[in-house]
Symmetry: C2
Subunit: 203 residues, 2 copies
DNA sequence: ATAGTATGTTTAACGGTGTTAAGTGAGAGG
DNA sequence: CCTCTCACTTAACACCGTTAAACATACTAT
């Protein structure tokens, strides 16, 4: 009867348990420093059980990143909707991106820094539907709005989007991966970057 | 007699052989994908021999990075010496930085992207005398020249230097770690970033 | 009710990793 | 000629991601 549905619910629950355990460990100690055996220990199952729910360690990671980046994409969309001045909206989208990275440094590392080494064809992160790409799309929309409103000198949407992304990513990734460097105050640095880029783009 | 000196020469030669083998493998296949055993095989010694010359795998890496970043620092110094227009000099220093990263992507990864995870206290890369820091110092000098010549609105040398670094690093690291992303033409992107930053900084 | 099957989980193992402790063997010094 | 030093190797440790095979339980069909 309903046993089939119950079973399915239980399977889904375990899948979520694995995800939760892995997220906590990955975020606390970093992907590279957490073994499948440790994740298994945390959920009190044998290591191989995880492989019944996820293809491999990278897939586990990917699932977690998608979850988290969905949040970023959503926040970006909210900002875009709630603002009508395109430059101000773009500025806030950039802030949201950097703040997000600094708030979830290990998630950020996983999708944008460590990422999929290069074992042949792990291009999941680049799929149109991936959350990382959705976030990129939101940034792109913000840039497009500015260009449509004739606020920017340069009109190559793709180039401007990628440059702004690189600016945000540069700050985020450096702050994350070199925490011991004598940085000036974080907010000052972030604002200087965003302001300088927007100023430089404005006709 | 001179045997002691000969021995010392031979030791030094082997040390260099190890370095050469490791460099070639690391650069070709990436640090993470090369094992100590493979390095040993290449020089036709047993794996443990390497540990008589280098403390561990990370130290081997560090030595290689220092070598390579010395080159970058040198090139930057040459550019600075051969130019008298400070903005143009800074532009070229930035180009040199990015070009260098794209030319030696695995070296770049090693010092600025992957680098010392966070096992307590591997702050070698941040030592004043390290070559990476020397390169940073060169960038800083370029920025200082522009500020002294009253070319920039913002006058916080450290903040401007770090922002420009972040801009260059953002582009370099994204191009390196996401080679499959549909980037616009590399040179266009690099120039757009540098031009926009310099334009945005100019009063 | 019993036999058979599908399902979820575990045990054991493979081939790898960085690293260390103990052993070997050739050449220098007495 | 013997001893000792020291560069080097062998063997091992404790891990890693992953897979094939065994197992136990719970459902199905006779």
């Amino acid at each position: 009867m309903g046993t089939k549905q119950r079973r399915e619910r239980e399977k889904e629950a375990l899948r979520q348990d694995i995800l939760d355990a892995a997220r906590e460990l990955f975020v606390k100690e970093g992907y590279e420093n957490v073994s499948m055996r440790r994740v298994a220990e945390k959920i009190e199952y044998s290591p191989t059980t995880i492989y019944l729910y996820f293809e491999d360690k990278a897939s586990l990671l990917y699932a977690i990143c998608e979850e988290t980046f969905a949040k970023l994409a959503k926040r970006m969309e909210t900002i875009a909707r709630d603002s009508d001045e395109p430059i101000e909206a773009l500025r806030q989208v950039c802030r949201a991106y950097v703040d997000f990275g600094l708030k979830y440094p290990n998630h950020y590392k996983l999708t944008f820094i460590n990422h999929p080494q290069h074992p042949q064809d792990d291009k999941r992160h680049l799929r149109e539907e991936s959350m990382g790409m959705r976030a990129y799309g939101n940034l792109r929309a913000g840039v497009e709005a500015c260009i449509s409103a004739k606020k920017f000198r340069e009109t190559n949407v793709e180039a401007v989007t990628q440059m702004i992304w690189a600016g945000g990513h540069g700050i985020t990734s450096l702050l994350i991966s070199m925490p011991d460097f004598p940085w000036v105050k974080k907010n000052e640095l972030i604002d200087l970057m965003i302001d300088t880029l927007l100023e430089g783009l404005s006709g």
